[in-house]
């Protein structure tokens, strides 16, 4: 035991020394505080690689390889009179808002990034953009409802955001309800399911108001903490009120629990529209056959008609390339947005011609380009946030060759986005 103790002490000391050496080896000294990042342009990226939001973070390594590879293939970006490659530094947020903040600080303070990407749900975008604002680092914010981000701070000076508003997604859902046979004024009963996280609260505020305005009957069981496993009260209310439509946005575990408990309790609905958890093939596959027929919003698909002004790649080519490099998996929608965020970051440096932070911020402000998710021009304002609205269409999970596939069935808001099929009643719409 005595020998073991000494050995363990030695082992721990060696570990600590190794880590200390690693720490000392970083650019933490005074010189690292300079604005320029040396031979490369550094872009910071906080990604939910594990945890409930992991589906959103899928494909990050592939995206980095693609964008870094593109910049290398064109010989770098000319900034401050010198051609430089880009280096994308990624830290895992573990889907935790506290870790998001820590990692964003680390990117700003330790890695001295020239620009930071805040992406994938308000739970990541809000804490990361808050650090960008604090440290005065240009921030490309994307893929979080505009209302949630705008409501989180009074003023954004370094953050430029791109995504849709809750008002827009409501219009999209209304269109899907109409297609499913529940038009405005029909008096259909809509049961809503929103967690009281940033996303759920932003949706809840708009949906509760608009549903009533449009002549539907609102069945509101109240918000619940994200991570709830027992939905008995909510299911009982839905059953008692005989809801026609289930609408909401949830993380995959929350929706899985709610939906399974609804089915077990015999709650039958004619339409299910669900955001966040029903966007990705992997998340929907986990629900199994009962997910067939679920309706959701679609922000990006390989069938979208856009072509990147930076790399020249089309949505179809990008989707095909992703599938080829990732064992046939369909490119997830958030990965499309990840690609667009990095396109915008690179484009900002090209337009600025420097890594000086004010100039990069101004380049973002004047951005007028087309990315893989559509045209980006930051010309709208909500509260203290400058943003650009991106396209949205309506989709349905249908069984194609024995596999759940997302089919675009409605393009009423953005007709340039092609539909890929028509509405078909499925297992999720048993009534």
């Amino acid at each position: 035991m005595k020998k073991k103790g000494i050995l363990a002490l030695f082992l721990t000391a060696a570990l600590c020394l190794g880590l200390l050496a690693g720490c000392a080896g970083q650019g933490g000294g005074k010189g690292a505080g300079k604005a320029s990042s040396g031979d490369t342009i550094k872009i910071g990226y906080v990604n939910p690689t594990i945890g409930p939001l992991a589906g959103n973070g899928e494909g990050i390594d592939w995206l980095i390889k693609e964008i870094e590879g593109y910049v290398k293939s064109v010989g770098g970006i000319e900034v401050d009179g010198k051609k430089k490659n880009i280096e994308i530094i990624v830290y895992d947020s573990q889907s935790d808002t506290t870790i998001c903040t820590e990692m964003a600080q680390k990117l700003c303070e330790e890695d001295k990034v020239d620009l930071i990407v805040a992406i994938q749900t308000p739970e990541t975008v809000i804490p990361v953009s808050a650090q960008a604002e604090r440290y005065g680092v240009p921030c490309v914010a994307i893929q979080a409802p505009v209302n949630a981000v705008a409501g989180a701070a009074e003023k954004y000076e370094w953050t430029y955001h791109a995504f849709w508003t809750i008002e827009k997604v409501y219009e999209q859902y209304k269109s899907l309800w109409t297609i499913a046979g529940y038009a405005p004024g029909s008096g259909a009963k809509i049961g809503i399911a929103f967690a009281n996280d940033a996303d759920g609260t932003a949706w809840y505020n708009i949906f509760t108001q608009k549903i009533v305005e449009d002549g539907y009957v609102l069945v509101d069981p109240g918000q619940y903490p994200s991570g709830t496993t027992d939905f008995t009260n909510i299911v009982n209310k839905f059953k008692a009120e005989k809801i026609d439509i289930l609408a909401g946005t949830n993380i995959p575990p929350d929706f899985g629990n709610l939906f399974n408990q609804m089915i077990a309790a015999g709650v039958e609905v004619g339409c299910v529209t669900m955001g966040k958890c029903c966007l990705l093939e992997g998340d929907v596959a986990a629900l199994g056959e009962k997910a067939e027929g679920i309706l959701t919003e679609v922000w990006w698909a390989p069938t979208n008609p856009y072509k990147s002004a930076l790399t020249g790649i089309t949505c179809a080519e990008l989707g095909e390339k992703y599938s080829k490099d990732n064992g046939g998996r369909a490119m997830p929608q958030p990965a499309g947005y990840g690609y667009a965020a990095l396109e915008l970051a690179v484009q900002a440096f090209i337009n600025a011609g420097t890594t000086k932070k004010e100039a990069v911020r101004d380049a973002l402000k004047k951005m007028d380009t087309t990315t893989i998710v559509g045209p980006i021009k930051y010309d709208k304002q909500m509260g203290g946030l400058t943003y650009c609205e991106t396209v949205i269409s309506g989709g349905q999970w249908q069984m194609v060759d024995g596999k759940l596939t997302l089919i675009i069935i409605d393009n009423s808001l953005y007709p340039e986005v092609p539909t890929t099929g028509k509405y078909v009643p499925g297992n999720a719409t048993q009534r």
Binding site: L11, G22, G33, G51, Y91, T97, M103, K106, P127, A130
Partner: protein, 340 residues
């Protein structure tokens, strides 16, 4: 209450085991501590330390404060709490509400956080002190979880959507570093002098056997209350500074169990029931945390867990605790020796 005079000599005392223990305190130790603190202030104020190094150090100071307070409760008094995040969450939200909703200074936020935590700890003490051991630990955790659920549903604090600290102008990392350093020094001094006092003697007696301590005149309730409230105040202040540095707060983060996990990890690897343990543990924890962030998702927790298991199995007294035992020395010991 008699506060011990720091002696200008190196003490070598016969420990209870009969061997010789070298006690490092008195004027040389005090001088060393003052020199280190002065250097940290000077280097911070003059910009010798880069902003990034200050970021590392301010985290170390805050974790040191939190874990020293947890060590005071668990290591010296026997009150193992799993719910100290209650006061971190309350302080974080006090700071955010004061700065964002009422546009007040962050100093007011700290003060409000400390006052609310004092009141809450006094109220909770009445209920929690009826329990001991595992029951006390679980009850403290339940309180934190209940508050998390409450804050997640409370419209005034924007439910689970979180809030952003709106200090104007936002303090620099250097400013937060100086505040954190000052709090850490005060917290360590409070722990040291509290343990050296008559109250401290009663606390350790209470930890070893509450009934026996009570029978020889230790007022158990008062002693526990003092430690619990002091711990709550300093935990709240450290929590407030933490959130000033983080910039935004969410109920799941503010009242999350991961705060207590960090405190327990720090005290275990450093050395439970030692003054220096939380200091060493905090330094190692922050370095581990920062360096392991580069690993792919999930590995941070796996490696930290592995280290904790190794230390518990092979160094149950922690790194400093084991070194003190093997090399027969004690830093700023609270123990009474026969010559004192």
């Amino acid at each position: 209450m008699k506060i011990p005079v720091l002696l200008d000599r190196k003490k070598t005392k016969a420990a209870s085991s009969g061997g010789q223990v070298r006690v490092l305190d008195g004027v040389p130790m005090l001088a060393a501590c003052v020199a280190i603190a002065a250097a940290l202030y000077i280097f911070g104020l003059t910009g010798v330390l880069s902003s990034n190094i200050q970021r590392y150090l301010l985290k170390i100071f805050l974790y040191c404060t939190l874990s020293s307070m947890w060590n005071l409760m668990s290591g010296y008094t026997g009150m193992t709490s799993l719910g100290q995040q209650t006061y971190i969450g309350l302080a974080g939200y006090s700071l955010t509400v004061m700065t964002a909703t009422y546009a007040m200074s962050y100093w007011v936020g700290f003060l409000v956080g400390a006052v609310i935590s004092t009141i809450v700890s006094l109220i909770l003490a009445i209920i929690l002190f009826r329990m001991r051991g595992m029951y006390f630990a679980v009850a403290t955790w339940v309180v934190a979880e209940a508050l998390r659920t409450f804050f997640t549903s409370w419209k005034f604090v924007k439910k689970g959507a979180g809030m952003t600290v709106a200090a104007r102008p936002y303090p620099s990392t250097s400013t937060i570093y100086i505040i954190a350093l000052t709090l850490c020094i005060i917290a360590l001094a409070v722990v040291y002098f509290l343990l050296k006092s008559r109250v401290g003697l009663g606390l350790t007696a209470m930890r070893d056997d509450p009934d026996a301590a009570s029978s020889v005149g230790v007022d158990i309730f008062k002693s526990k209350l003092l430690v619990y409230v002091v711990s709550a105040i300093f935990t709240a202040l450290a929590g407030g500074i933490f959130y000033l540095n983080k910039g935004s707060i969410y109920p799941a983060g503010g009242f999350g169990i991961s705060w207590t996990v960090s405190m327990v990890f720090i005290v275990i690897i450093g050395g439970i029931g030692t003054m220096g343990g939380p200091v060493l543990g905090s330094i190692l924890y922050v370095i581990f945390e920062e360096q392991l962030a580069k690993l792919p998702g999930g590995w941070t927790n796996i490696v930290l867990g592995l280290i904790a298991i190794l230390v518990i199995l092979f160094l149950p007294d922690g790194i400093l605790g084991t070194l003190q035992k093997k090399l027969r020395f004690e830093i700023l010991s609270q123990k009474r020796f026969s010559g004192e």
